[in-house]
Amino acid sequence: VQKSLAEFEAANVKVAVVSQSTAKSLATFHRWNAKPYPILGDPERRLYRAFGLERTRLVEFLKPRVLWRYLRLLFTGTKLRSVYGSEDVLQLGGDFLLAADGSILLGHASRESTDRPSVEQLLAAVRTHR
């Protein structure tokens, strides 16, 4: 999404990122990693739960599909890093397109750690609801 940020902005879509970080971790992260979108903290993961985002199990990382995706990331230069502070490595993410009133137009709760919609799918949803 970061590489396609201009396309989202051109469609009047604000991108905001939610992490399970504390205020202290976020401050450290912002100092070294300036991002062109807000990174927000939900250390108690109340919003994660409200959006139905669950924890995965360690055994899920051993599935061939997941292992293959991580290997592909490594081969393309992505560095795997340890998590910040008390973040839960088993927490799953998700992607939600919201209207101005907070209603959910598109919801994707990850089923496993590498399960994300493509940028094309997200932009298609934007075009549908614009």
Partner: protein, 37 residues
């Protein structure tokens, strides 16, 4: 879902209702990370 019932920590360190993260005049793509790293 009423996003005003949930709070988030914003980049300036303040804690505000999650609804404040929304684009008031358009759509918002809210991306939940697995972890920050």
């Amino acid at each position: 879902m009423n996003l005003n019932e949930y709070s988030l920590i914003f980049p300036d360190g303040t804690e505000r209702p999650a609804a404040a993260a929304l684009n008031p005049q358009g759509l918002t793509l809210l991306i939940f990370l697995r972890h920050l790293a």
